[in-house]
Symmetry: C2
Subunit: 252 residues, 2 copies
Protein backbone atom coordinates (compact mmCIF):
# COMPACT_ATOMS: atom_id res chain seq x y z
CA UNK A 1 0.00 0.00 0.00
CA UNK A 2 2.64 2.46 -1.00
CA UNK A 3 0.45 5.49 -1.43
CA UNK A 4 3.31 7.82 -0.71
CA UNK A 5 5.23 7.07 -3.90
CA UNK A 6 2.76 7.85 -6.62
CA UNK A 7 4.38 6.82 -9.91
CA UNK A 8 5.15 9.39 -12.52
CA UNK A 9 2.66 8.05 -15.01
CA UNK A 10 -0.85 8.19 -13.72
CA UNK A 11 -3.99 6.34 -14.63
CA UNK A 12 -6.40 8.51 -16.48
CA UNK A 13 -9.56 6.95 -15.09
CA UNK A 14 -8.35 7.61 -11.57
CA UNK A 15 -7.48 11.15 -12.53
CA UNK A 16 -11.13 11.70 -13.24
CA UNK A 17 -12.02 11.08 -9.60
CA UNK A 18 -11.94 13.75 -6.98
CA UNK A 19 -8.59 13.75 -5.26
CA UNK A 20 -10.28 12.70 -2.04
CA UNK A 21 -11.93 9.69 -3.63
CA UNK A 22 -8.75 8.81 -5.41
CA UNK A 23 -6.77 8.77 -2.22
CA UNK A 24 -9.27 6.56 -0.48
CA UNK A 25 -9.26 4.17 -3.39
CA UNK A 26 -5.50 4.02 -3.60
CA UNK A 27 -5.33 2.96 0.01
CA UNK A 28 -6.78 -0.32 -1.13
CA UNK A 29 -4.39 -0.61 -4.03
CA UNK A 30 -0.93 -2.06 -4.41
CA UNK A 31 1.55 -1.15 -7.08
CA UNK A 32 2.52 -4.33 -8.86
CA UNK A 33 4.76 -5.23 -11.75
CA UNK A 34 3.06 -6.61 -14.82
CA UNK A 35 5.31 -9.21 -16.44
CA UNK A 36 5.23 -9.82 -20.17
CA UNK A 37 2.78 -12.60 -21.11
CA UNK A 38 1.32 -12.89 -17.64
CA UNK A 39 -2.29 -13.99 -17.77
CA UNK A 40 -4.43 -11.88 -15.49
CA UNK A 41 -7.82 -13.45 -16.00
CA UNK A 42 -9.59 -16.15 -17.94
CA UNK A 43 -12.98 -15.96 -19.65
CA UNK A 44 -15.92 -16.90 -17.48
CA UNK A 45 -13.81 -17.15 -14.39
CA UNK A 46 -13.81 -14.83 -11.43
CA UNK A 47 -11.36 -11.98 -11.47
CA UNK A 48 -8.65 -12.37 -8.88
CA UNK A 49 -7.64 -8.73 -8.97
CA UNK A 50 -8.48 -5.69 -11.02
CA UNK A 51 -5.81 -3.49 -12.51
CA UNK A 52 -5.34 0.17 -13.30
CA UNK A 53 -2.26 0.15 -15.53
CA UNK A 54 0.33 2.88 -15.19
CA UNK A 55 3.22 2.06 -17.48
CA UNK A 56 2.27 -1.50 -18.41
CA UNK A 57 -0.50 -2.52 -20.75
CA UNK A 58 -2.80 -5.45 -21.20
CA UNK A 59 -4.43 -7.21 -24.15
CA UNK A 60 -7.95 -8.52 -24.14
CA UNK A 61 -8.15 -11.60 -26.30
CA UNK A 62 -10.78 -14.07 -27.41
CA UNK A 63 -9.92 -17.64 -28.23
CA UNK A 64 -11.93 -20.02 -30.33
CA UNK A 65 -11.24 -23.72 -30.16
CA UNK A 66 -8.65 -24.72 -32.75
CA UNK A 67 -7.62 -21.19 -33.67
CA UNK A 68 -5.13 -18.55 -32.76
CA UNK A 69 -6.20 -15.94 -30.25
CA UNK A 70 -7.67 -12.71 -31.53
CA UNK A 71 -7.13 -9.45 -29.82
CA UNK A 72 -10.17 -7.38 -28.91
CA UNK A 73 -8.66 -4.42 -27.17
CA UNK A 74 -5.70 -2.94 -25.42
CA UNK A 75 -5.70 -1.49 -21.94
CA UNK A 76 -3.08 0.98 -20.82
CA UNK A 77 -3.08 3.83 -18.39
CA UNK A 78 -6.11 5.25 -20.14
CA UNK A 79 -8.25 2.37 -18.89
CA UNK A 80 -8.59 -0.54 -16.54
CA UNK A 81 -8.89 -4.29 -16.54
CA UNK A 82 -12.07 -5.56 -14.99
CA UNK A 83 -14.48 -2.83 -15.91
CA UNK A 84 -17.37 -5.29 -16.06
CA UNK A 85 -17.41 -5.01 -12.29
CA UNK A 86 -19.43 -1.89 -12.97
CA UNK A 87 -22.10 -4.28 -14.21
CA UNK A 88 -22.01 -6.18 -10.98
CA UNK A 89 -20.26 -9.08 -12.68
CA UNK A 90 -17.22 -10.57 -11.00
CA UNK A 91 -16.38 -12.86 -13.89
CA UNK A 92 -14.25 -11.86 -16.82
CA UNK A 93 -15.68 -11.88 -20.34
CA UNK A 94 -12.31 -12.52 -21.98
CA UNK A 95 -8.79 -13.51 -21.32
CA UNK A 96 -6.36 -10.75 -20.40
CA UNK A 97 -2.65 -11.02 -21.16
CA UNK A 98 0.09 -8.59 -20.29
CA UNK A 99 1.50 -7.25 -23.53
CA UNK A 100 3.74 -4.55 -22.22
CA UNK A 101 5.52 -5.01 -18.94
CA UNK A 102 5.36 -2.23 -16.43
CA UNK A 103 3.51 -1.12 -13.37
CA UNK A 104 -0.13 -1.04 -12.40
CA UNK A 105 -2.31 -0.31 -9.43
CA UNK A 106 -3.89 -3.57 -8.35
CA UNK A 107 -6.97 -3.89 -6.20
CA UNK A 108 -8.93 -6.74 -4.75
CA UNK A 109 -12.33 -7.51 -6.22
CA UNK A 110 -14.17 -7.17 -2.94
CA UNK A 111 -12.48 -3.88 -2.11
CA UNK A 112 -13.39 -2.31 -5.39
CA UNK A 113 -16.93 -3.62 -5.16
CA UNK A 114 -17.33 -2.01 -1.80
CA UNK A 115 -15.79 1.23 -2.90
CA UNK A 116 -18.03 1.36 -5.94
CA UNK A 117 -21.05 1.51 -3.66
CA UNK A 118 -19.62 4.51 -1.86
CA UNK A 119 -18.39 6.37 -4.91
CA UNK A 120 -20.94 7.13 -7.63
CA UNK A 121 -18.28 9.08 -9.43
CA UNK A 122 -16.19 5.98 -9.95
CA UNK A 123 -19.27 4.08 -11.00
CA UNK A 124 -19.90 6.72 -13.60
CA UNK A 125 -16.37 6.72 -14.92
CA UNK A 126 -16.30 2.96 -15.24
CA UNK A 127 -19.60 2.96 -17.05
CA UNK A 128 -18.29 5.50 -19.49
CA UNK A 129 -15.16 3.51 -20.04
CA UNK A 130 -17.18 0.37 -20.57
CA UNK A 131 -19.15 2.13 -23.25
CA UNK A 132 -15.94 3.10 -24.97
CA UNK A 133 -14.68 -0.47 -24.81
CA UNK A 134 -17.90 -1.67 -26.35
CA UNK A 135 -17.55 0.72 -29.25
CA UNK A 136 -13.89 -0.12 -29.71
CA UNK A 137 -14.69 -3.80 -29.59
CA UNK A 138 -17.11 -3.60 -32.46
CA UNK A 139 -14.65 -1.47 -34.36
CA UNK A 140 -11.91 -4.03 -33.86
CA UNK A 141 -14.23 -6.80 -34.92
CA UNK A 142 -14.99 -5.17 -38.24
CA UNK A 143 -11.36 -4.16 -38.63
CA UNK A 144 -10.16 -7.73 -38.20
CA UNK A 145 -12.68 -8.90 -40.75
CA UNK A 146 -12.20 -6.38 -43.52
CA UNK A 147 -8.85 -4.72 -43.21
CA UNK A 148 -5.65 -6.21 -44.43
CA UNK A 149 -2.70 -7.22 -42.42
CA UNK A 150 -0.44 -4.21 -42.93
CA UNK A 151 -2.89 -1.52 -41.86
CA UNK A 152 -3.93 -3.62 -38.90
CA UNK A 153 -0.33 -4.16 -37.90
CA UNK A 154 0.38 -0.46 -38.12
CA UNK A 155 -2.67 0.24 -36.02
CA UNK A 156 -1.54 -2.19 -33.41
CA UNK A 157 1.94 -0.77 -33.25
CA UNK A 158 0.53 2.69 -32.76
CA UNK A 159 -1.81 1.57 -30.04
CA UNK A 160 1.05 -0.17 -28.29
CA UNK A 161 3.27 2.82 -28.69
CA UNK A 162 0.67 5.05 -27.06
CA UNK A 163 0.42 2.79 -24.07
CA UNK A 164 4.08 1.91 -23.70
CA UNK A 165 5.04 5.54 -23.09
CA UNK A 166 8.24 4.81 -24.94
CA UNK A 167 9.22 4.41 -28.54
CA UNK A 168 10.97 1.15 -27.72
CA UNK A 169 9.06 -1.84 -26.43
CA UNK A 170 9.13 -5.61 -26.54
CA UNK A 171 6.84 -7.41 -28.96
CA UNK A 172 7.79 -10.44 -31.00
CA UNK A 173 6.32 -11.22 -34.38
CA UNK A 174 4.75 -14.28 -32.86
CA UNK A 175 2.96 -12.24 -30.23
CA UNK A 176 1.75 -9.74 -32.80
CA UNK A 177 0.54 -12.57 -35.00
CA UNK A 178 -1.53 -13.90 -32.13
CA UNK A 179 -3.01 -10.51 -31.45
CA UNK A 180 -3.95 -10.00 -35.06
CA UNK A 181 -5.10 -13.56 -35.57
CA UNK A 182 -2.71 -14.27 -38.45
CA UNK A 183 0.38 -16.35 -39.22
CA UNK A 184 3.67 -15.38 -37.69
CA UNK A 185 5.36 -15.31 -41.09
CA UNK A 186 2.68 -12.96 -42.34
CA UNK A 187 3.71 -10.50 -39.67
CA UNK A 188 7.36 -10.98 -40.52
CA UNK A 189 6.71 -9.95 -44.10
CA UNK A 190 4.55 -6.95 -43.24
CA UNK A 191 6.89 -5.79 -40.50
CA UNK A 192 9.86 -6.36 -42.80
CA UNK A 193 8.44 -3.91 -45.29
CA UNK A 194 7.88 -1.34 -42.59
CA UNK A 195 11.45 -1.80 -41.45
CA UNK A 196 12.78 -1.36 -44.98
CA UNK A 197 10.82 1.84 -45.22
CA UNK A 198 12.35 2.98 -41.93
CA UNK A 199 9.01 3.30 -40.17
CA UNK A 200 10.15 0.92 -37.47
CA UNK A 201 13.16 -1.15 -36.62
CA UNK A 202 13.35 -4.28 -34.58
CA UNK A 203 15.57 -7.07 -33.48
CA UNK A 204 14.69 -10.09 -31.43
CA UNK A 205 11.54 -8.59 -30.09
CA UNK A 206 12.66 -5.07 -29.34
CA UNK A 207 10.67 -2.76 -31.56
CA UNK A 208 11.51 0.88 -32.11
CA UNK A 209 9.05 3.29 -33.57
CA UNK A 210 10.98 5.52 -35.95
CA UNK A 211 8.28 7.36 -37.86
CA UNK A 212 4.92 7.62 -36.19
CA UNK A 213 3.44 9.76 -38.88
CA UNK A 214 4.27 7.24 -41.55
CA UNK A 215 2.69 4.50 -39.49
CA UNK A 216 -0.45 6.54 -39.14
CA UNK A 217 -0.62 6.86 -42.88
CA UNK A 218 -0.36 3.12 -43.29
CA UNK A 219 -2.77 2.29 -40.47
CA UNK A 220 -6.46 1.88 -41.11
CA UNK A 221 -8.85 4.51 -39.88
CA UNK A 222 -9.69 2.31 -36.91
CA UNK A 223 -6.74 3.70 -35.02
CA UNK A 224 -8.02 7.23 -35.13
CA UNK A 225 -11.58 6.10 -34.56
CA UNK A 226 -10.56 4.44 -31.32
CA UNK A 227 -8.86 7.58 -30.11
CA UNK A 228 -11.82 9.72 -31.05
CA UNK A 229 -14.27 7.47 -29.32
CA UNK A 230 -12.35 7.59 -26.08
CA UNK A 231 -11.84 11.30 -26.32
CA UNK A 232 -15.49 12.07 -26.94
CA UNK A 233 -16.59 10.18 -23.87
CA UNK A 234 -13.78 10.49 -21.37
CA UNK A 235 -11.67 13.39 -22.53
CA UNK A 236 -8.01 13.67 -23.26
CA UNK A 237 -5.84 11.13 -21.49
CA UNK A 238 -2.41 12.16 -20.32
CA UNK A 239 0.30 11.42 -22.83
CA UNK A 240 3.99 11.11 -22.28
CA UNK A 241 4.43 14.62 -23.61
CA UNK A 242 1.87 16.04 -21.21
CA UNK A 243 3.76 14.58 -18.33
CA UNK A 244 7.06 16.00 -19.51
CA UNK A 245 5.41 19.35 -19.86
CA UNK A 246 4.03 19.17 -16.36
CA UNK A 247 7.48 18.36 -15.06
CA UNK A 248 9.09 21.23 -16.90
CA UNK A 249 6.52 23.62 -15.55
CA UNK A 250 7.18 22.57 -11.99
CA UNK A 251 10.95 22.71 -12.25
CA UNK A 252 11.67 26.45 -12.42
Amino acid sequence: MSVSTVPLITNHLLQLLSSKDRHILLQYCDVVQLQFADILCEPNQRYRYLYFPLSGFISLVTKLAGHKPLEMGLIGNEGMLGVTLALGMTTAPMQAVVQGKGTAWRIDVADLQQFLLLCPQLQHVLQQYLFVQLAQLSQSAACAHFHELSPRLARWLLMSHDRAHSSRFYLTHQFLADMLGVRRSGVTVAAGIMQQQQFISYSRGMISILDRQALQNVACECYQAGLDEYLSVLGQPRTEDDIKQLLQQSVP
Copy 2:
Protein backbone atom coordinates in the same frame (compact mmCIF):
# COMPACT_ATOMS: atom_id res chain seq x y z
CA MET B 1 -50.31 2.67 -24.38
CA SER B 2 -52.22 -0.50 -24.98
CA VAL B 3 -51.30 -2.28 -21.79
CA SER B 4 -54.50 -4.27 -21.86
CA THR B 5 -53.57 -6.41 -24.85
CA VAL B 6 -50.32 -8.02 -23.87
CA PRO B 7 -49.05 -9.92 -26.91
CA LEU B 8 -48.65 -13.65 -26.82
CA ILE B 9 -44.91 -13.62 -27.07
CA THR B 10 -43.31 -11.89 -24.15
CA ASN B 11 -39.98 -10.24 -23.68
CA HIS B 12 -37.73 -12.26 -21.49
CA LEU B 13 -35.95 -9.35 -19.86
CA LEU B 14 -39.26 -7.91 -18.79
CA GLN B 15 -40.31 -11.29 -17.47
CA LEU B 16 -37.44 -11.06 -15.05
CA LEU B 17 -38.99 -8.02 -13.38
CA SER B 18 -41.55 -8.27 -10.63
CA SER B 19 -45.00 -8.14 -12.10
CA LYS B 20 -45.60 -4.85 -10.36
CA ASP B 21 -42.53 -3.24 -11.85
CA ARG B 22 -43.33 -4.70 -15.23
CA HIS B 23 -46.78 -3.19 -15.21
CA ILE B 24 -45.49 0.21 -14.30
CA LEU B 25 -42.89 0.05 -17.03
CA LEU B 26 -45.36 -1.10 -19.66
CA GLN B 27 -47.50 1.91 -18.97
CA TYR B 28 -44.77 3.94 -20.59
CA CYS B 29 -44.50 1.57 -23.53
CA ASP B 30 -46.25 1.35 -26.87
CA VAL B 31 -46.55 -1.71 -28.99
CA VAL B 32 -45.12 -0.90 -32.38
CA GLN B 33 -44.57 -2.78 -35.60
CA LEU B 34 -40.98 -3.26 -36.65
CA GLN B 35 -40.73 -3.11 -40.44
CA PHE B 36 -38.08 -5.04 -42.30
CA ALA B 37 -34.93 -2.96 -42.89
CA ASP B 38 -36.06 -0.10 -40.69
CA ILE B 39 -33.13 1.64 -39.10
CA LEU B 40 -33.72 2.23 -35.42
CA CYS B 41 -30.55 4.01 -34.43
CA GLU B 42 -27.24 5.20 -35.80
CA PRO B 43 -23.82 4.96 -34.19
CA ASN B 44 -22.88 7.90 -31.98
CA GLN B 45 -26.30 9.42 -32.24
CA ARG B 46 -28.89 9.67 -29.54
CA TYR B 47 -31.43 6.91 -29.34
CA ARG B 48 -34.88 8.05 -30.29
CA TYR B 49 -36.62 5.12 -28.66
CA LEU B 50 -35.61 1.90 -26.99
CA TYR B 51 -37.17 -1.40 -27.93
CA PHE B 52 -38.06 -4.63 -26.21
CA PRO B 53 -38.79 -6.95 -29.14
CA LEU B 54 -41.63 -9.43 -28.94
CA SER B 55 -41.92 -11.15 -32.26
CA GLY B 56 -39.61 -8.97 -34.33
CA PHE B 57 -35.85 -8.92 -34.14
CA ILE B 58 -33.07 -6.47 -34.72
CA SER B 59 -29.49 -6.63 -35.99
CA LEU B 60 -26.65 -4.67 -34.53
CA VAL B 61 -24.20 -3.81 -37.27
CA THR B 62 -20.91 -2.01 -37.60
CA LYS B 63 -19.94 -0.26 -40.78
CA LEU B 64 -16.47 0.67 -41.89
CA ALA B 65 -15.98 3.19 -44.62
CA GLY B 66 -15.81 1.47 -47.99
CA HIS B 67 -16.96 -1.92 -46.78
CA LYS B 68 -20.08 -3.94 -46.34
CA PRO B 69 -21.72 -3.85 -42.95
CA LEU B 70 -20.82 -6.52 -40.44
CA GLU B 71 -23.27 -7.90 -38.02
CA MET B 72 -22.34 -7.89 -34.34
CA GLY B 73 -25.40 -9.32 -32.70
CA LEU B 74 -29.05 -10.10 -32.96
CA ILE B 75 -31.72 -8.89 -30.58
CA GLY B 76 -35.03 -10.69 -30.25
CA ASN B 77 -37.46 -11.16 -27.43
CA GLU B 78 -34.60 -12.39 -25.26
CA GLY B 79 -33.06 -8.92 -25.22
CA MET B 80 -33.47 -5.25 -25.89
CA LEU B 81 -32.16 -2.51 -28.09
CA GLY B 82 -30.54 0.31 -26.19
CA VAL B 83 -29.07 -1.49 -23.26
CA THR B 84 -26.23 1.00 -23.01
CA LEU B 85 -28.73 3.22 -21.27
CA ALA B 86 -27.80 1.18 -18.23
CA LEU B 87 -24.41 2.87 -18.53
CA GLY B 88 -26.02 6.25 -18.48
CA MET B 89 -25.27 6.70 -22.17
CA THR B 90 -28.04 7.93 -24.42
CA THR B 91 -26.08 7.46 -27.62
CA ALA B 92 -25.98 4.23 -29.57
CA PRO B 93 -22.67 2.43 -30.10
CA MET B 94 -23.79 0.82 -33.36
CA GLN B 95 -26.40 0.93 -36.04
CA ALA B 96 -29.51 -1.15 -35.46
CA VAL B 97 -31.55 -2.52 -38.35
CA VAL B 98 -34.76 -4.50 -38.22
CA GLN B 99 -34.02 -7.94 -39.62
CA GLY B 100 -37.27 -9.69 -38.80
CA LYS B 101 -40.50 -7.76 -38.91
CA GLY B 102 -42.84 -8.08 -36.00
CA THR B 103 -43.85 -6.35 -32.82
CA ALA B 104 -41.93 -4.73 -30.00
CA TRP B 105 -42.55 -2.69 -26.91
CA ARG B 106 -41.18 0.77 -27.52
CA ILE B 107 -40.30 3.28 -24.85
CA ASP B 108 -39.03 6.80 -24.80
CA VAL B 109 -35.46 7.40 -23.69
CA ALA B 110 -36.39 9.80 -20.93
CA ASP B 111 -39.09 7.52 -19.57
CA LEU B 112 -36.80 4.56 -19.33
CA GLN B 113 -34.07 6.67 -17.78
CA GLN B 114 -36.44 7.82 -15.11
CA PHE B 115 -37.77 4.37 -14.47
CA LEU B 116 -34.27 2.99 -14.18
CA LEU B 117 -33.67 5.22 -11.19
CA LEU B 118 -36.72 3.83 -9.45
CA CYS B 119 -36.17 0.20 -10.30
CA PRO B 120 -32.86 -1.33 -9.28
CA GLN B 121 -34.14 -4.65 -10.51
CA LEU B 122 -34.33 -3.41 -14.07
CA GLN B 123 -30.94 -1.82 -13.71
CA HIS B 124 -29.59 -5.17 -12.67
CA VAL B 125 -31.23 -7.06 -15.51
CA LEU B 126 -29.94 -4.63 -18.10
CA GLN B 127 -26.46 -4.82 -16.68
CA GLN B 128 -26.55 -8.57 -16.91
CA TYR B 129 -27.80 -8.43 -20.45
CA LEU B 130 -25.11 -5.95 -21.36
CA PHE B 131 -22.51 -8.34 -20.03
CA VAL B 132 -23.94 -11.07 -22.22
CA GLN B 133 -23.86 -8.82 -25.25
CA LEU B 134 -20.25 -8.01 -24.55
CA ALA B 135 -19.33 -11.66 -24.46
CA GLN B 136 -21.36 -12.44 -27.56
CA LEU B 137 -19.79 -9.52 -29.35
CA SER B 138 -16.29 -10.80 -28.83
CA GLN B 139 -17.42 -14.26 -29.84
CA SER B 140 -18.91 -12.90 -33.05
CA ALA B 141 -15.78 -10.95 -33.76
CA ALA B 142 -13.58 -14.01 -33.58
CA CYS B 143 -16.18 -16.04 -35.45
CA ALA B 144 -16.24 -13.60 -38.35
CA HIS B 145 -12.48 -13.65 -38.51
CA PHE B 146 -11.77 -17.37 -38.32
CA HIS B 147 -14.81 -19.34 -39.32
CA GLU B 148 -15.82 -20.01 -42.86
CA LEU B 149 -18.88 -18.88 -44.60
CA SER B 150 -21.03 -21.99 -44.35
CA PRO B 151 -20.80 -22.48 -40.59
CA ARG B 152 -21.37 -18.81 -40.06
CA LEU B 153 -24.38 -18.83 -42.35
CA ALA B 154 -25.83 -21.79 -40.51
CA ARG B 155 -25.26 -20.05 -37.22
CA TRP B 156 -27.01 -16.98 -38.45
CA LEU B 157 -29.98 -18.90 -39.74
CA LEU B 158 -30.34 -20.63 -36.40
CA MET B 159 -30.13 -17.38 -34.47
CA SER B 160 -32.74 -15.87 -36.73
CA HIS B 161 -34.94 -18.90 -36.41
CA ASP B 162 -34.83 -18.68 -32.64
CA ARG B 163 -35.92 -15.07 -32.71
CA ALA B 164 -38.47 -15.30 -35.50
CA HIS B 165 -40.62 -17.75 -33.54
CA SER B 166 -41.45 -19.35 -36.85
CA SER B 167 -39.67 -21.68 -39.21
CA ARG B 168 -40.46 -19.34 -42.09
CA PHE B 169 -39.09 -15.85 -42.25
CA TYR B 170 -37.93 -13.27 -44.76
CA LEU B 171 -34.23 -12.89 -45.42
CA THR B 172 -32.68 -12.31 -48.82
CA HIS B 173 -29.24 -13.52 -49.77
CA GLN B 174 -28.19 -9.92 -50.08
CA PHE B 175 -29.24 -9.16 -46.54
CA LEU B 176 -27.48 -12.22 -45.21
CA ALA B 177 -24.38 -11.28 -47.15
CA ASP B 178 -24.37 -7.89 -45.49
CA MET B 179 -24.78 -9.41 -42.07
CA LEU B 180 -21.94 -11.82 -42.60
CA GLY B 181 -19.73 -9.30 -44.35
CA VAL B 182 -19.32 -11.36 -47.54
CA ARG B 183 -20.37 -11.30 -51.17
CA ARG B 184 -23.96 -11.97 -52.07
CA SER B 185 -22.97 -14.69 -54.52
CA GLY B 186 -21.00 -16.38 -51.80
CA VAL B 187 -24.18 -16.68 -49.77
CA THR B 188 -26.05 -17.98 -52.81
CA VAL B 189 -23.59 -20.81 -53.19
CA ALA B 190 -23.52 -21.73 -49.50
CA ALA B 191 -27.27 -21.47 -49.15
CA GLY B 192 -27.72 -23.42 -52.37
CA ILE B 193 -25.83 -26.34 -50.90
CA MET B 194 -27.95 -26.25 -47.79
CA GLN B 195 -31.04 -26.24 -49.92
CA GLN B 196 -29.84 -29.21 -51.96
CA GLN B 197 -29.28 -31.06 -48.73
CA GLN B 198 -32.81 -30.20 -47.64
CA PHE B 199 -31.68 -28.31 -44.55
CA ILE B 200 -33.52 -25.22 -45.71
CA SER B 201 -35.58 -24.08 -48.65
CA TYR B 202 -36.11 -20.61 -49.93
CA SER B 203 -37.57 -18.58 -52.71
CA ARG B 204 -37.38 -14.87 -53.27
CA GLY B 205 -36.46 -14.16 -49.70
CA MET B 206 -38.78 -16.49 -47.84
CA ILE B 207 -36.61 -18.97 -46.00
CA SER B 208 -37.94 -22.14 -44.43
CA ILE B 209 -35.97 -24.06 -41.88
CA LEU B 210 -36.47 -27.74 -42.68
CA ASP B 211 -33.89 -29.47 -40.52
CA ARG B 212 -32.69 -27.60 -37.49
CA GLN B 213 -30.53 -30.41 -36.26
CA ALA B 214 -28.63 -30.60 -39.51
CA LEU B 215 -28.05 -26.86 -39.39
CA GLN B 216 -26.67 -27.16 -35.90
CA ASN B 217 -24.22 -29.75 -37.12
CA VAL B 218 -23.03 -27.43 -39.85
CA ALA B 219 -22.92 -24.33 -37.67
CA CYS B 220 -19.81 -23.36 -35.79
CA GLU B 221 -19.71 -23.73 -32.03
CA CYS B 222 -20.38 -20.02 -31.69
CA TYR B 223 -24.08 -20.66 -31.94
CA GLN B 224 -24.16 -22.86 -28.89
CA ALA B 225 -21.69 -20.64 -27.07
CA GLY B 226 -24.01 -17.69 -27.47
CA LEU B 227 -26.91 -19.62 -26.06
CA ASP B 228 -24.86 -20.88 -23.15
CA GLU B 229 -23.58 -17.45 -22.30
CA TYR B 230 -27.08 -16.02 -22.13
CA LEU B 231 -28.36 -18.96 -20.19
CA SER B 232 -25.65 -18.84 -17.59
CA VAL B 233 -26.28 -15.19 -16.81
CA LEU B 234 -29.96 -14.63 -17.44
CA GLY B 235 -31.57 -18.05 -17.42
CA GLN B 236 -33.72 -19.80 -19.92
CA PRO B 237 -35.61 -17.50 -22.27
CA ARG B 238 -39.05 -18.51 -23.44
CA THR B 239 -38.99 -20.42 -26.69
CA GLU B 240 -41.77 -20.98 -29.15
CA ASP B 241 -42.29 -24.43 -27.70
CA ASP B 242 -42.58 -23.09 -24.15
CA ILE B 243 -45.30 -20.78 -25.27
CA LYS B 244 -47.21 -23.55 -27.02
CA GLN B 245 -46.91 -25.63 -23.91
CA LEU B 246 -48.22 -22.83 -21.75
CA LEU B 247 -51.17 -22.49 -24.07
CA GLN B 248 -51.96 -26.18 -24.01
CA GLN B 249 -51.83 -26.21 -20.24
CA SER B 250 -54.29 -23.37 -20.00
CA VAL B 251 -56.76 -24.76 -22.51
CA PRO B 252 -58.34 -27.69 -20.62
